[in-house]
Amino acid sequence: MAQALRRGLGGAFVIAMAGLSLGGVAIGAGGVSTVGINAVVYNNVRLKSAGAPQAHVAVVRERVGLGDEVQTGGRSQLQVLLLDKTTFTVGAGARVTIDRFVYDPSRGTRSMAASVVKGAFRFMSGRPDRAGTTSIRTPIASIGVRGTIVEGVVGPAAAEIAAGESAVGPRVRVDPATASLILLRGPGARTQGRLSPGAIDVTAGGRTVSVTQPMRAVFVPAAGMAPIGPFVISQRGYDGMRALFFPLLAQRLGLNIPGERPFTPYGNGQRNERPLPPVLYGYPGGDRPGRGPGYDTPGFPGSGQGFPDFPSEPQGGQGGQGQRTMSTTPQPAGQPSNAPSPKPSPTYSPQPSPSPTRVPGKP
């Protein structure tokens, strides 16, 4: 009987482990590999599955597949919870794809790669990277991540934030289309919770810069250029990053949202030390103080409703237009249940992707 029990126990263990592995590793039966779910969707967020002709409106708890491209509009946000509980947040004006995700829960290992064409992203590891790798690519830099919290932004918003940082300043040659700002958020060396201190390696222009302390940033201005930094990000720079990830919070606190106006490098070799003008973004319902140019302002680039690259479809998200309702049932593509406003979206005229610019007077 004891032998039989041992046999039975062994068989059950193998089955249980097989169930765990099949449930955890990003391998799907139908050729689609599920890597996680949409945990938070706000405003204009779309997913474009690999091979699909066009993107569909994302909804909360929708499954996210390997190779799905996340597309967000202005003042929009998506938080994806991956199978290993890693959190991948995509902020405003972004195009992000999870290219690789391999998770083995029995060994506690995860390997992941993501590419960020533009916009803001935030990666928060669900567990220490005991083995495996995590890498994030921007058009001009690659980021090696070691069990950590890291965030970044690619494009005009990165250029705008970096121009205000004393370690970078306005005289650096910048390509606003691809400029990449990466910020390590932790954990620090004395972290609690049995976590490993975070670290990132940013490689660009043939040079690698390691960052090991929270609130240290690295800026890559243009293709082929080496990273600048690490440097301590300023309060204003931090606020700008935060505004990209938390658009509702930015409205509440009156934070400037970088990248909403076309980026123009400050000319004449002088640094613009003036504080940014106050930007008052009104709550769409008008029930909060600070109403001003906001969602409904036509001709205000990135003002929340414009999708620069998408066909005209009803806009929505988790409550869009400031209504924070929770949608829990995935909808078929093209039938968004969370598009609350019948109003047409103002058109966002994207700025042409400029070539790297050089400030006059500088070699």
Partner: protein, 122 residues
């Protein structure tokens, strides 16, 4: 004997099945996403995560609350306290500095994690 072995194995598999069902990772992710819909319940859940030593999970939960309920000063303060636990006091100060003057909220966790000096706005 063979029959008894088979029955024993079947019983163990049946016993293991609910365990396997409980740990379906996608169901668990759905639960996590749902836990932060209500800010009060979400903060309770985040505190439980801290007690279990899951600081990163607590940060993720709190960020979901902040994303949906930016008016929750308690969530913002609790998030700052988590940053201090993760040895990011500069980040915590930067977040505190964003809060409007005269704010309320539960300062207990943030003072406990960051020290009383955190109340002096950065």
């Amino acid at each position: 004997m063979a029959i008894r072995n088979g029955i024993a194995a079947l019983c163990l598999v049946l016993l293991a099945t609910p365990v396997m069902a409980q740990i379906d990772p996608l169901d668990e992710l759905d639960s996590l996403a749902g836990a932060s819909v209500d800010p009060g319940a979400g903060l309770v859940f985040a505190r439980q995560q801290v007690v279990r030593g899951d600081l990163i999970g607590a940060v993720a939960t709190t960020e979901r609350i902040i994303a949906l309920h930016p008016e929750s000063d308690d969530a913002l303060l609790f998030h700052a306290s988590l940053l201090c636990r993760l040895d990011d006091p500069e980040g915590a100060r930067a977040e505190i500095a964003e809060l409007p003057a005269g704010r309320g909220g539960d300062w207990g966790p943030v003072v406990a994690a960051c020290g009383p000096g955190i109340r002096r706005r950065g």
